[in-house]
């Protein structure tokens, strides 16, 4: 039995096991009521502290769905809660001129951004699309984190697409958001083939079995924790990860050690 379970159950958080949420969002959203969608520095901070979330890396819904708002939504939020938050610079390939500008300005916001976020299933252009390339080249050169929304079977961000960018940009640290959900065999193959590719657990642990399969094949060193917060509850996901039967060491890797390594030099 994982010894961290008793501690999380007792206190809700464990000092020696901080949690990094590597896949989050911010802001209200059209298709769902999010009780904690609206950003408020005090409330957000207290929600994160309840579950021992040391740092949350997000990309605002407003950035992803409004080119008019763009990354302003991320910058303003991180700067109000800099000890807890960092953001991914959100990219919309339907507006390549904005991508170019955001890459150009990236250095100005090193206090805000740790990398880029692609939501290709929604923006309907594949992750290898040329409109993203200024950002990919920059991430490759600077060793930035790139969080992709990935889903099994998707022509935009399924395993075949991840393979293309992982091969082309070995310097980028690629997080497969949702781990190419459902296509676990391909997810595993990608992790084995590319040391710069990581599985991220949001939606993976909604059902039992997926994490167990990935762990059996690859161990815990290329897995990071994420929740799509404020969609999903941190305690729910922490409980789910522990219930997969992982050891203490694996839990430490997934909850914080792998993230700490990825974020080295970026925060």
């Amino acid at each position: 039995m994982n010894s961290l379970w008793g501690k999380f159950l007792e206190n809700g958080r464990v000092k020696e096991c901080p949690v990094y949420d590597m896949h989050a969002h911010m802001g209200s959203f059209n298709r769902i009521y999010l009780p904690f969608g609206d950003f408020n520095p005090e409330i957000t901070k207290s929600r994160l502290e309840r579950a021992g979330i040391k740092m949350l890396i997000f990309c605002s819904h407003w950035t992803l769905f409004s080119p008019d708002i763009g990354n302003r939504a991320n910058i303003e939020v991180v700067r109000q809660l800099p000890d807890k938050l960092r953001a991914y610079c959100g990219l919309n390939p339907n507006y390549p001129e904005i991508i170019e500008k955001d890459v150009e300005d990236f250095e100005k916001y090193r206090d805000v951004f740790v990398g880029f976020k692609l939501l290709s299933d929604y923006h309907q252009k594949p992750v290898s699309h040329e409109n993203y390339s200024p950002a990919w080249k920059y991430a490759d050169k600077k060793g930035l984190i790139v969080l992709l929304h990935t889903w099994g079977g998707s022509q935009f961000d399924g395993p075949e697409q991840v393979r293309i960018v992982a091969e082309k940009y070995p310097g980028a640290k690629i997080l497969m958001g949702h781990s190419c959900h459902g296509a676990w065999d391909e997810t595993i193959q990608l992790m084995k083939d590319f040391p710069n590719v990581y599985a991220e657990l949001c939606a993976v642990v909604d059902d039992r079995g997926g994490l167990e399969q990935i762990m059996d094949a690859c161990g815990s060193k290329q897995i990071v924790f994420g929740t799509d917060w404020p969609w999903f509850n941190h305690h729910y996901y922490i409980g789910a990860v522990i219930d997969s039967g992982i050891s203490d060491q694996d839990a430490h890797n997934i909850f914080h050690r792998n993230a700490e390594k990825l974020l080295e030099g970026l925060i």
């Binding site: 009521y33 309840r50 909604d206 039992r208 409980g239």
Partner: protein, 253 residues
């Protein structure tokens, strides 16, 4: 402070025909899991009720749950007209077999769940306070047909399970507001950030029933969420077991 006892309202036994990670095929397997998770009692159904034959599935379930006082059963119903399940002594059979609630899968089992099909029967279970468990998973029903059901049978005790991955407050809150015997099972409400807290704040803790969704979902997920929810200890106790106990006590079989 009173301890939280967990009474799980959403568990099935039996192995699905397409396979499922960690499914348990009998009560012994379920015992083991419940002990591991610290869950004291459960309302159980058998996957064969859905995937194979409701008639034979109900029978297997009754046999399995007879092995322990910690289990209560949930039988699957079909239209009364075909008399496959609902016969004259149906309620007596429920009582004899420790069946405390019913579930129904209209779209999958191919019938229309409305007043035409179930008029008299749903009147009877409304009067007898027998809870009807519905699921938003497994292609069971649409939101439209759920709304129609509650409009037609406003006194019906209804527990909505597996509410979905995406938060559904925009769908469920109107039902909680209008129908006092409408309840939410928690295994996916717990998944929604702030979902339990917001629902309790708006409607009180009496309207949520604890469930794990085992074997599909991880029991420790909804347990950890509830134990650390930003609600009172009494609210947690209500959700974990008291609400379901209260519903079952009101039942007249």
């Amino acid at each position: 402070m009173e301890k939280i006892e967990f009474f799980d309202a959403n568990v099935f036994i039996g192995r699905p025909h397409n396979g499922m990670f960690g499914a348990v095929n009998n009560s012994e397997g379920l015992f083991e899991e419940m002990d591991k998770q610290g869950i004291s009692r459960a309302i159980v159904w058998h996957i064969f009720q859905y995937e194979g034959s409701p008639v034979e599935g109900n029978r297997i379930l009754a046999e399995e749950i007879s092995k322990s006082d910690r289990f209560y059963g949930c039988w699957t119903i079909l239209p009364p007209q075909t008399q496959e399940i609902i016969t004259e002594d149906f309620f007596k059979q429920m009582k004899e077999n420790k069946i405390v609630c019913l579930n129904v899968f209209p779209d999958w089992h191919r019938f229309v769940m409305d007043a035409v099909t179930f008029g008299d029967f749903f009147q009877q279970i409304s009067e007898r306070n027998i809870p009807l468990f519905l699921t938003m998973g497994r292609s069971c029903i649409s939101w439209d047909s759920l709304y129609r059901l509650m409009r037609d049978f406003p006194r019906l005790t209804c527990v909505l399970c597996d509410i979905g991955i995406w938060g559904v407050d925009r769908y469920t809150w109107p039902l909680l507001e209008k129908f006092e015997n409408f309840y939410l099972e928690s295994s996916q409400l717990s998944l929604e950030e702030g979902g339990v807290e917001a629902t309790v704040k708006r409607f009180g803790s009496e309207r949520i029933i604890f469930g794990t969704g085992f074997p599909v979902r991880y029991p420790k997920a909804s347990i950890l969420q509830l134990v650390h929810a930003d609600i009172s200890q009494q609210d947690k106790i209500n959700i974990a077991s008291k609400n379901l106990e209260r519903i079952l006590k009101k039942e007249k079989l």
